[in-house]
């Protein structure tokens, strides 16, 4: 039987030992009327050869596109060693390291991961992962509110990824926490400082600062942090970890640095995979560590004084503290963190810097190529990291469909999330996009946009 080693003889032998005649008897405590073995919508079993064939076919049809979307998930080079090592059975098939002595591999790796993330963000401590970026932001909001008990409002600028804002809202709203939106400046695509100041009041526990922001633009993080701290608000930074190879680390923002740093770990060696599994990271200052959600691994010694690693500060967690835990999180994203640790080790500070630089350079190249087309221009006049908002003089849906037909996923349309960005597209070219791919993009875009300009919209047919 698939994945069941029992032979008939063994089954009989075991039933005998138990003292029943057939397996069904083992279910005799279940009320008869509840037994229902009908599964009309589960297909019959398939062998491995057949499922492989079917899966390959399905994967094939999704595999025909060149991608220019970033918007929270980025297509970076992943060294071959990352997943060849991460999928070693001893990492891949172990549970959460509850028995420390039998899990030193995973535990030491997590300790190393925590150290890497702390160093990358220039913060004191890091946890061992949360689900992904957006829910990590929600956890940061809860954490901030916990430490500023009386205050239940958090400022959430519109330059934070719209899906992050939605997710945070879903998760924190039930606890009566209010996320107050702060509009962005239409000119520079950054948090509008004046509006932020307007929102600042006694009941604000924290301000969320994205860097780079959703539009790819760099916020004035120093100024924002100082403003927050001057107003007794915590700072929650939301950052792209790869960008930190070249951008100022949140721990160094302003006079005293951010208090909590979260973000999406995906750029660190995790494949796009239609959205997951990724991992959320969270770092903070030392003084907030007891408010952290999630696992923490500590270094200690064994009875012989030998170095070893173990889960620690478990009194924060649900399995010890139950309803008083800092979060309900239990299973987190261990394997992804394993991959990220391998990624950071293989790339090193120099390799990550290169990847970040090259993504920046490529995006600039792309912008240049595209904005040289009539009818295409950059929406904001600001410095970007590796994404940019373009305004294009063409109906966006048709344009995207036409580009897709050419095998190009042209970018993320912003209209649905931003009323005044109706004709805008968020584009990204990581280090993996080649010159030819970018030229191809420009070529097709030009053709489509110019055609559009020649044919009046009513005559269009694509």
């Amino acid at each position: 039987m698939p994945f069941i080693p029992h032979t008939e003889k063994e089954t009989r032998q075991m039933l005998e030992a138990i003292g029943v005649r057939q397996i069904d008897e083992l279910f005799d405590e279940i009320p008869d009327e509840l037994i229902n073995e009908k599964l009309n919508h589960v297909p019959s079993a398939m062998g491995e050869a057949a499922i492989r064939q079917l899966s390959k076919k399905r994967a094939e049809i999704d595999n025909a596109y060149v991608n220019f979307i970033g918007a929270g998930a980025y297509e970076h080079h992943i060294p071959a060693a990352v997943w060849q090592l991460a999928t070693r059975g001893e990492f891949y098939s172990a549970y959460t390291p509850y028995q420390a002595e039998a899990s030193q591999g995973t535990l030491q790796l997590l300790y190393e991961y925590q150290t890497m993330m702390a160093s990358l963000t220039a913060m004191d401590v890091s946890n061992a992962s949360l689900y992904e970026g957006a829910s990590a932001l929600a956890e940061a909001v809860l954490m901030a509110v916990r430490t500023r008990c009386k205050k239940r409002r958090v400022l959430m600028p519109e330059t934070v990824h719209p899906r992050y804002r939605e997710t945070a809202q879903t998760i924190v709203k039930n606890q009566g926490i209010i996320l107050s939106s702060v509009a962005y400046s239409a000119e520079i695509g950054c948090i509008d400082l004046n509006r932020l100041k307007d929102e600042l009041s006694e009941d604000v526990a924290a301000i969320v600062i994205p860097q780079p922001n959703y539009f790819g633009i760099l916020e004035d993080v120093d100024g924002l942090v100082d403003l927050a701290h001057d107003n007794a608000c915590l700072v929650i930074a939301v950052v792209n970890p790869l960008s930190l190879a070249v951008l100022k680390a949140p721990g160094d923002w302003g006079e005293t640095g951010a208090d909590i740093v979260v973000g999406e770990g995906q750029p660190l060696g995790i494949p796009l995979s239609s959205g997951g599994p990724y991992f959320g990271f969270m770092c903070s200052s030392q003084k907030l560590v007891r408010q952290m959600p999630g696992r923490l691994v500590g270094r200690t010694v064994d009875v012989d004084g030998k170095q070893g690693f173990t889960l620690t500060l478990q009194a924060r967690e649900q399995h010890i503290r139950r309803s008083k835990a800092t979060s309900n999180i239990c299973t987190n994203q261990g394997l992804m963190v394993t991959a990220a640790t391998l990624y950071m080790s293989l790339m090193g500070p120099a390799g990550m810097e290169q990847a970040a630089q090259a993504s920046h350079t490529n995006t600039r190249k792309l912008i240049e190529k595209l904005t040289s087309i009539d009818g295409v221009e950059a929406e904001f006049n600001s410095t970007v990291f590796h994404e940019c908002v373009l305004r294009i003089d063409a109906p966006m849906d048709d344009l995207l469909r036409a580009m897709t037909a050419q095998g190009i996923i042209a970018g993320k349309a912003l209209a649905a999330d931003f009323n005044n960005l109706q004709n805008c597209l968020l584009v990204c070219a990581t280090e993996l996009r080649t010159e030819e791919e970018m030229d191809e993009y420009a070529l097709h875009l030009e053709r489509i946009v110019s055609k559009r300009r020649l044919d009046p919209p009513c005559a269009r047919k694509m």
Binding site: E101, E132, D252, G298
Partner: protein, 487 residues
């Protein structure tokens, strides 16, 4: 002792094959926004990385190397084809925000999975969005809240959980803004119905229940419990962590549950990865459908689409930036197709057979069961309280000694209401030889507690480290390496 990767690092060492042929320094970002000092990431060669992490991996116990009867965690075989499929480029390379039309392959797999989960759970609709069991719980309770709110039934401020419940249950309820009340368990392992009755009221938003419970027994009064909760106006939440025990046998929807979650990393055998990722899809019956989280995967005339907030105005919202742990869902789909209709029931059959066999054998060998009169489900609880009283050997000592014998320890000290307990879950994928080996090891340790008690109390002896000082770990917190000359 394995040196930290940082201790193998040398300033200036690079791993150039990961470099790009041409990169130019950034010249357009203001200095004030730039990083000045490189992060202290390791500077090591590819070979050093491969060697270090290969060696580290060998220090782990894992299902691929050891019997791992961790109760409630369902450590069963992770078929290798599931991993292969998830790595196909068409799946692994697709951007989550690409148009649905470019993801018909993955969306069709996810949709198929939804259909399968619907059938095995007996629920009306499934959402694949939650990324683990705990997030499934949050989602379910948030939907319960949304349901009461939609009916303007705002007084309901309490979620009930049995005292045997997993810690995530009360924690999730609190995250949804609820007060939690515990319901005691009777001596036979079933919920104390009298106490439940006394606790139910207009303030009750719902009850969370695991069935089979974490005590390794099937809650026989489930129909009655469901009726009571529903009568009181509350809803019933099913924690599906133990679904492995009843797969293809009993459907939670038919037990009377309104909303459930499933742990695909348990019942559907996706890898635990040293602590995740998992996947915790939720299922609901008719009345909760409007509240399901987004995105939702729907199909019409052979085309698959994602629905978002605008399409589902009553949805509790979104749980992550994209659509959950897709790659894990994909692995679960492969596993479900490999098992097929025929295989589902067999999982429950053999998981239960293995547990009852072990229970019987251990009982005969003199170990005390927490619920001796009950049938084991896919797991069972034994208590070592007598051993502790007689010899001072705790469940923890026993657990550590098992490691020496090449077996991962069962879940210890959970559920909290059984003293010095082991929650043992062998799963269906373990062979009779393996079970017998574990039973022998337990008996041996029992004998050792008589003849050489120190060996047991100071175990483990054969692992990379001996027993670790956890108190020191918490008191002298060292969770980030401070450098060679660090603190």
């Amino acid at each position: 002792m394995t040196k930290l990767i940082f201790e193998q690092s040398t300033a200036g060492r690079t791993n150039n094959s990961q470099f790009l042929s041409t990169t130019s320094p950034i010249d357009d970002i203001p200095d004030g926004l730039r990083r000045k000092k490189r992060p202290a990431l390791p500077e090591v060669s590819e070979m050093q990385v491969v060697r270090h992490y290969t060696r580290l991996s060998q220090l782990n116990f894992s299902i691929d190397t050891q019997f791992y009867p961790l109760g409630s965690c369902t450590m069963k075989h992770n078929p290798r084809i599931c991993n292969e499929v998830a790595q196909y480029e068409g799946f692994s390379g697709r951007h989550p925000s690409a148009p649905d039309s470019t993801g018909q392959g993955i969306l069709s797999c996810l949709f198929d999975l939804q259909e399968i989960l619907k059938d095995i759970s007996g629920m009306s609709e499934i959402s694949l969005a939650p990324m683990a069991g705990a997030q499934g719980e949050f989602t379910g309770i948030a939907m319960i809240r949304a349901y009461h709110d939609a009916r303007n039934d705002g007084r309901r401020e309490e979620i009930l959980v049995p005292d045997a419940a997993h810690g995530t249950n009360p924690a999730s309820a609190v995250m949804c803004g609820y007060r939690v009340r515990e319901i005691p368990t009777q001596g036979n392992g079933d919920v104390d119905i009298k106490a439940l009755r006394a606790t139910l009221g207009p303030q009750t938003a719902g009850l969370m229940l695991t069935n089979p419970s974490t005590l390794g027994v099937f809650e026989r009064q489930i129909k009655e419990i469901a009726a009571l909760v529903h009568e009181a106006g509350g809803l019933l939440y099913y924690d599906g962590a133990n679904m492995n025990a009843i797969l293809g046998k009993v459907k939670p929807g038919e037990m009377g549950f309104d909303v459930i979650h499933l742990n695909l990393h348990k019942t559907f055998s996706t890898p635990h990865g040293g602590g995740g990722p998992g996947a915790g899809p939720v299922g609901v019956n008719e009345r909760l459908i409007p509240f399901l989280p987004v995105p939702k995967i729907v199909e019409s005339s052979g085309e698959y689409r994602l629905l978002n907030k605008n399409d589902c105005p009553q949805s509790i919202g979104r749980l992550s930036c994209f659509m959950g742990n897709t790659g894990i869902l994909l692995r679960a789909w492969v596993y479900a197709r490999l098992l097929g209709r025929e295989g589902m029931k067999r999982v429950a059959d053999y998981a239960t057979l293995n547990a009852n066999y072990m229970k019987t054998k251990l009982e005969r060998a003199g170990f005390e069961m927490a619920y001796p009169t009950r049938r084991a489900t896919h797991e069972f609880v034994l208590t070592l309280k007598k051993n502790k009283a007689d010899t001072g050997v705790t469940a923890m000592d026993f657990a550590k000694r098992l490691l020496d014998k090449g077996y991962h320890a069962p879940t210890t000290y959970f559920p909290l209401l059984v003293p010095e307990c082991f929650l043992i879950e062998p799963t269906e994928s373990e062979s009779l030889e393996e079970l017998d080996g574990f039973i022998r090891a337990m008996i041996e340790i029992g004998e050792e507690t008589v003849e050489q008690v120190e060996t047991v109390k100071t175990a483990p002896h054969t692992l990379p480290v001996r027993r670790l000082d956890e108190v020191r770990a918490a008191r002298q917190l060292d969770i980030v390496w401070q450098g060679e000359n660090g603190v």
